[in-house]
Amino acid sequence: MPEALPTTPDGILLVLAVMVPFAGLLVAFAFGGRNAQRIALLTIVATAGVAAAITMVALRGDATLVYLLGGWAPPLGIALRADPLALVMIPAIALVIVGIALYACADFGTPAGPRESRASLVFWVLLLAIWGALNLVFLSGDLFTLYVALELLTFGAVPFVALDGRPETLRAALRYALYALLGSVFYLLGTVLLYGAYGTLDIAQLRELVRPQPVVLVAAALMTVGLLAKTALFPLHLWLPPAHAGAPPAASAVLSGLVIKGSWFLVVRLWFDVLPGVVTLPSAQLLAAFGAAAILVGNVVALRQERLKLLVAYSTVAQIGYLFLMFPLAFDATAGALVPGAALAGGMLQAISHAMAKAAMFMAAGLLYKSLGHDRIGEMGGIGRALPLTVLTFALAGLALMGLPPGGAFAAKKLLLDAAGASGQWWWALVLDVGGLLTASYVVLVLGHALTRAPAPIQPRAKVSRLAEFSALALALCSLALGLVALGPAPFDALPNPLVAKEFGSALVTLLGGAVLALLLGLRLPPLPGGGALAEGLRRATVTVGAGFVRADGVLRQWPVATLALILAALAFGVAFAPRG
């Protein structure tokens, strides 16, 4: 069995990244009341400091930080490792959490007057839990510790769904809990099988040991599918739309921007670090095919929503699909293995920029809801004048999600398109472009409604906090400015330069195409201007198609169908993992 790396000098930082949030959680919970928020904010500052320190050490050139817990080397001990993948995620997640925490000070603040509320205590305590669990997911080098981290993440996320305690959110939370638990037992079963075969759960050691034997194929299929259920990759997304749309905005931002990235990150870990030699091209294609279906169905169903928060939730269903497109593009046919390269960099960049943009979008949607007292897209006229900053935030987050320059998603899309071109897999390039168009269409649709003139000026039902508006705007700007790191020093200069005239031309095309799609597929629009019989016929046809997608989504989100889909997906992956020839 290969020797494990020893603890590195700054390895203790990794322990702090996990310990500090959980310690803060316990203290905040013990003191409760108005102290909870203060302790949580202090802990957030401390953890962000640890994340910054880890990033500084990494930028200084130490490739991998390692800490062996208790000095015990794997397979008996457990190692924490900060490899480049973790080093990308930790600062990005820290930034998003800080943004969300500032935003949440308005909704879950604990001012001097009223008594403590259950929702704000739970929010602050669980925000720390989710952060600690995410850091453990990124840093742990042991598959069983990752299982525990994943469960901690779910335990933190489920109550977030039901923070306001309405019956429909409780139902959404229970559905999420049960489906996520089913996913995690699949993952656990796979872990147990791997231990039975090799006697270790350490990622670095397993990587050297695994061979494409039947037991490994079964374990890999079970673990992958279990993680996909927790990530809500289409068609295993039954729990996501009601859960993410029903939660309070700050909680939705955490769920949509961060929590799903935990289980997604584990799929990346599993495929690139544990099973790079076991993964076959058909299995990678299958994973990306689920992603492509997610992009298509998620986007079209998003376009057919009447409520803004549901639209944003379905947009998440679609964006999860993007995160899985990198797998076949990272497959090296000559080596017969997954290799980290431009495609993986693109996928990671996509995840980060989505985390920021989607958090900003949910935060903006929450502010619109608060001000209007509803979130019906068709009745948003005039809000652009009442809340210009928030509508701008929504627009900027939308531009970032579409993959327009200079956003992080733009650079990600470029990297993936290049990888698709280099490996001759043009169909994934097509999916990326169509996905961008569809994303543009619902952003244009919402902005079109928000910017129309209202018959009478809007009377805001509640004042929104400036701090909340600015923190949402800051996250949207971060996502949109992420592509500019390409102008920085090496290694960032390998990223595509977003400030090229040609890119702005294609951005314009995306926006115009999106506007046309919005006119064709959107709900409750006036008849097409100057539309002849042909245009009307076209619109009727596309509306029928859109309604078909909505109905299909409804069928797939029924419990028996979704659980059967889980089993079938596991079987399909088992077959796809089988070596050829």
Binding site: R171, A177, Y195, A197, A313, G554, P560, T563
Partner: protein
């Protein structure tokens, strides 16, 4: 003659199979929670069998799975407690409890 590790492995498979079946077919959330526990116990039995076999390390009896198993039990106990408390709360608030899909709504009851 079938050896004891294989026998326990088969029992584990049966438990997992029963649990997955109930998870898919039974509409009541409480039964789904029980089904989750049946699957979990199946996995723990399998882990016990692997420990008895000595795992890949080739020892005669492996203590590591027992440590992991106890952690797994704690985690699954917490998961069950969380799910049951959500179920109870839902029953308290709505009078019924289910996880059936309904047209998802994002609109709060108007607060005015």
């Amino acid at each position: 003659m079938i050896d004891i590790a294989t026998l326990f492995g088969l029992c584990a498979s049966v438990l997992v199979g029963i649990g997955v079946y109930a998870m898919i077919t039974s509409p009541q959330p409480l039964r789904k929670i029980v089904a989750f526990n049946v699957i979990g116990n199946g996995i723990f039995v399998l882990f016990g069998a692997i420990a008895y076999r000595g795992a890949g390390a080739g020892w005669g009896g492996d203590p590591v799975p027992q440590a992991l198993l106890i952690t797994g039990l704690v985690v699954s106990f917490c998961a069950t407690a969380l799910a049951v408390s959500l179920l109870l709360r839902q029953h308290q608030v709505a009078g019924t409890a289910s996880v059936a899909s309904e047209p998802a709504t994002s609109e709060a009851t108007p607060d005015a």
